[in-house]
Subunit: 420 residues, 2 copies
């Protein structure tokens, strides 16, 4: 802008939204090859501008002395991470484009030919925290699915995000994509997030990427639909008929492969009929996990901490597991129905009837039989990437990738049919 009049956050988001809507109209009709070429050009621009991006990141790191080591590590970019970012954008460009895909088609008795066809959602807001790579990841998935993106990153990564966005947008422009396909909110004023969340009809969807505080705020305040998960309070139920060795392997992987991911197991439910509960708990402890249980659970092993009611609802995101003995699948289902967060739950059993009952009755986005909950991931599901995991009940559940960023419309081709 030529002069520096105060712009309210609402006016800012409305203006960005109008430009995004215009860009979205263009993006919706682009061939897959054009969108892919745009993303490849964006990846090239990120590599080309590596020095500027790393310098911007160094500035953020210098300003971020108050952050914890973990947060500083999330913020940090180096040449390897930058190359990973560029390669990630190229990987999205190589994914099959869902736009235009025919979901189903029919010919009505009157000759009207109907089809349901995938179309982009429109304008998608992404609100995220300290990881600057989200700028490129989210932009790539949004553009490849034919949507316009309005990005709002964390203030601690402001300089990095601006540099990445500048490169990304320049790359898209090289390939002839609309300049407003990906916009970065230029202010760190928190009111801008509020304006995004209130912008019903301007933004079609908001996706929060970050910690529970961010997601909770977005879910509480949004008037715009939100795709997200708040908790991953995931369970593994080890049935009486489970193979003990498989149970150990699945439980240890589900809890400890990475403890900070949303697909990690938080509560272990063990059937009283299971043959080796002591060995299972001890194996978990030997692998470095604190196991919390009631006195009744203590009978099966040296459980060091007692469990409180709150534990059943706690997502530790740490090397801690709550354990409960249950009477078979019935009680396991009741426990999960009461305490689960509808994210990912697993059963280990050799009994197919019990397994199918668990798969049918557990009301979660992802339900697994004889596999680790840590598979809750778009890449592991063959989606190529993910913008996040959703635990809401509408539109898209579980890992959300390109298809989850589309909707559909009905197209009818007639020969003059009237309803008469």
């Amino acid at each position: 802008m030529a002069h520096t009049e105060a712009v309210t956050p609402e006016a800012l988001i409305a203006a960005m939204g109008a430009r995004a809507r215009s860009a979205a109209r263009t993006l919706a009709t682009l061939d897959s090859s054009v969108k892919a070429a745009g993303l490849r050009a964006a990846a090239t621009a990120i590599r080309r501008d590596a020095a500027a991006i790393l310098a911007a990141n160094a500035q953020d790191m210098a300003d971020a002395t108050a952050l914890s080591t973990a947060l500083r590590d999330r913020l940090l970019l180096d040449e390897k991470r930058l190359e990973g970012m560029a390669a990630g954008v190229e990987a999205v460009a190589a994914l099959p484009d869902p736009v235009g895909r025919v979901i189903d088609a029919s010919e009505r008795p009157n000759g009207l030919r109907l089809s349901r066809v995938r179309v982009p959602i429109g304008v998608i807001g992404i609100v995220y925290e300290s990881r600057p790579n989200v700028t490129a990841d989210a932009a790539a998935l949004t553009v490849m699915s034919g949507n316009a993106a309005i990005l709002r990153g964390g203030s601690e990564a402001m300089n990095s995000n601006r540099a990445i966005h500048r490169a990304f947008a320049a790359g898209l422009a090289t390939a002839g994509l609309p300049a407003d396909a990906v916009q970065l909110v230029p202010t760190q004023d928190r009111a801008a997030v509020g304006a995004m969340l209130a912008a019903d009809g301007v933004l079609d969807l908001v996706i929060p990427r970050g910690g529970k505080g961010l997601v909770a705020r977005v879910q509480a305040d949004a008037r715009v639909p939100v795709l997200a998960h708040l908790d991953g309070n995931n369970h593994v139920y080890v049935d009486g008929s489970a193979n003990p060795a498989m149970a150990q392997a699945v439980v240890i992987d589900a809890k400890l492969r990475r403890t900070g991911v949303c697909g990690a197991m938080e509560t272990l439910l063990i059937d009283r009929a299971f043959a080796q509960p002591v060995e299972l708990v001890q194996a978990l402890q030997a692998a470095g996990c604190e196991v919390r249980g009631d006195p009744v659970e203590a009978s099966i092993g040296p459980i060091v901490a007692s469990v409180s009611d709150a534990d059943w609802d706690t997502e530790y995101l740490d090397a801690i597991a709550a354990v409960a003995l249950v009477d078979g699948v019935e009680e396991a289902l009741a426990h999960i129905a009461r305490h689960g967060s509808h994210h990912t739950d697993a059963i280990v059993t050799e009994d197919a009837v019990v397994a199918e009952r668990f798969l049918a009755e557990v009301d979660s986005a992802i339900v697994l039989w004889n596999a680790s909950t840590q598979f809750a991931d778009g890449g592991e599901f063959g989606l190529g990437a993910e913008i996040g995991i959703a635990t809401g009940r509408l539109h898209a559940r579980g890992p959300v990738a390109l298809e989850g960023l589309t909707t559909y419309k009905w197209i009818g081709r007639g020969t003059g049919q009237v309803r008469g």
Copy 2:
């Protein structure tokens, strides 16, 4: 309840929601045949209780002297309408059940077999106005799709709704379905609607059925996802290459077959290159339609009323059409983008290239080529029934029937896979 303590609307909805959630868990696992048997038993009960339902309706009619003739007609039940209601419930029972349908399936390189399977949404609130048949229609669609319903009808139909609900629930119980599968909010306190709209996590979805005032209130106040359409400001664009006879037939049907339905045409866009604009406008007028246009449009016929800017955004729901001359499909697309309500828009043309551009670029739930907008209807689309038409961008668009009342979950079947 044994005594008559005051219950707040919030507590009432929370208690009904908890019972509905429990019923929904059972409904989600029922065989299609069991749900269908429940609906057939409900239809039988409606027929059996015809005298009681008609007596309740007579009471409503006696209380409704202040209502308009149109509203009284909507409220009125007679034996024929009651039989239509029962037959409608049986028709839903005969529809294919979407629950359990596999959307897609794959086997990952590690042997994990993944599938996405349709499951019910959960607990669905329906808020509706004077037509008592919605009690049975909405209940049938909700139960057949495996969901629990919380119904809140209009106060003018209170006695009718209670009698229909009593019969419906008794029928379901006969067939062994949960008693709380379909609940009717027992109070006409308007705060109960507010409590439903605020009950995020208790209700999974709210569907308003009624006039624009009701839908607008629900959309404005809801913290729960809403499936609805506010406006059906639909366009027919008659392209230069249109067959004039087909254009007349489609336009007259789109506008006048029924003027009060959401799929009716409201604005007619005529290409300046179209050969017979005068004949088209005159045919519409001869069929009883008031045609509003600018002076420039008046050059093509005896347009009686001038058009104001507001007309382009007005859903007349009457024998009135706004007409605009446009320069080809480009200007038609721009007009629809600016004034459309994303419901149903149609093009009449013999030019397939122009048609495909229109079908691709018009951002509406339903886009038609050489067919009347009045086909916007679940029955006409082969869905067997509809709970409504949605113009939102997420989850379901256009006519929403059984499939639109489901969501999906991911099911993975492994052999001990860990992510490692």
